[in-house]
């Protein structure tokens, strides 16, 4: 991240300084402003879902889900931690339901738990799965097409499903293979 950030930042700064130096500070401020706006939107999403997840936690729902998924988690993520498995289970179910915003806090929680057993393999694998978008229902896109007057807004459902499945499997496969080669 640091390398990319530095490279993009410096090259953009130089280009902007040459083309339009008066735009320089406004661009940075604008970035900060949209960060705050995004954070506000994210907070509302997280508030709803983390409120719900606290309920799942206290009523024992997520513990039940974690227990059911324990063997699978052990095999795929090589983790023994119950708390991590709990968050992993919630993250993946949110993803499958197309609730991308709700999935993020669980992922971060799971990564925090995995950090305790310094399981960086599972952390990276979880990132790979999330970053290739495991999604069954592309809700946002279907809503947008319907809004734009599409005749059959949901007809991208199958192509999306195929593509997202291929990308997730391929990325996970590449990562697992690469991980073995580099060791």
């Amino acid at each position: 991240m640091n390398v990319i950030f530095t490279a993009v930042f410096i090259s953009s700064m130089v280009a902007l300084a040459i083309c339009a130096p008066q735009d320089f500070l406004p661009a940075l401020m604008q970035g900060g402003e949209s960060a705050v706006k995004t954070a506000l939107t994210l907070f509302t999403i997280y508030a709803v879902w983390m409120g719900l997840s606290k309920l799942c936690e206290r009523s024992g729902i997520s513990r039940g889900a974690a227990r059911a998924l324990r063997p699978a988690a052990k095999k795929i993520f090589r983790t023994d931690s119950e708390a991590a498995t709990e968050s992993l289970a919630m993250n993946i179910s949110c993803n499958l339901l197309g609730l991308g915003g709700a999935a993020t806090p669980y992922a971060v929680k799971a990564i925090g738990e995995l950090e305790k057993e310094s399981n960086s393999y599972a952390q990276k694998l979880l990132f790979v799965i999330n970053a290739t978008s495991v999604q069954i229902l592309p809700t946002t896109v279907i809503a947008m097409r319907a809004g734009a007057g599409s005749v059959s807004a949901a007809d991208i459902f199958l192509p999306s499903l195929i593509c997202t499945a291929v990308s997730t499997l391929l990325a996970a496969g590449l990562f697992i293979a690469g991980n073995k080669l580099w060791r």
Binding site: M1, I4, F5, S11, S12, M13, A15, C19, A20, D23, A27, L28, G31, G32, S34, A35, T38, A39, F43, Y46, A47, W49, M50, G51, L52, K54, L55, C56, R58, S59, G60, G100, P105, A107, E115, Q123, K124, F127, V128, A131, T132, S133, T139, V141, M144, R145, A148, G149, S150, D155, I156, P159, S160, C163, S167, L170, A171, L174, G178, W182
Partner: protein, 167 residues
């Protein structure tokens, strides 16, 4: 489809009530966590958004789009999608804005718009996610997972453009 979320909520609330969980307190506790989480995220967000804004305004993103269009065309990705494919790994809201522009310009049922929708729906904001997930942790060697994800995303984009031609 619209029923999924309400059903989940009703089920969890009812189940918690049966289990005699203090629902109000638990819900508020969850929101407290959400608040702390958002605040811890803000520095990363600010830095990444500043980078995106600079990149966009400096004209470098347009330059990159112009360079890469022929390459993408060779791979079977329509030229109109170049910018969307390039922005998506960095910014969700930016690429969403661009997607709505494509739908408006070409019509929701056109080949380009359907391609754009599938590409958008089957990829994620890779750099943003990596910033959020690994904020404050000391995980090293993130290059391998990021490269895997980007490669898979490119393959699925090419596949999306192929499938949309058939289906």
């Amino acid at each position: 489809m619209a029923l999924i979320v309400p059903v989940i909520f009703i089920a969890v609330f009812t189940f918690s009530a049966i289990k005699k969980v203090n629902i109000y307190e638990s819900f508020t506790d969850g929101i407290t966590e959400a608040f702390k989480f958002t605040v811890s995220l803000l520095p990363c967000l600010a830095a990444v958004f500043m980078m995106c804004e600079l990149f966009e305004r400096s004209g470098l993103s347009d330059l990159l789009t112009r360079w890469l269009s022929p390459v993408f065309g060779f791979l079977g990705i329509p030229e109109e999608l170049t910018k969307l494919v390039l922005i998506k790994p960095f910014s969700g809201s930016g690429s969403l804005a661009y997607l709505s522009r494509i739908i408006e310009a070409y019509g929701a049922d056109s080949y380009v718009a359907r391609c754009a929708c599938v590409c958008f729906g089957s990829s994620e904001t890779v750099f943003y996610i990596s910033a959020v997930y690994f904020a404050g942790l000391k995980v090293k060697k993130l290059a391998l997972p990021i490269v895997c994800v980007l490669a898979a995303t490119l393959v699925s984009t090419i596949l999306a453009c192929l499938i949309c031609k058939i289906m």
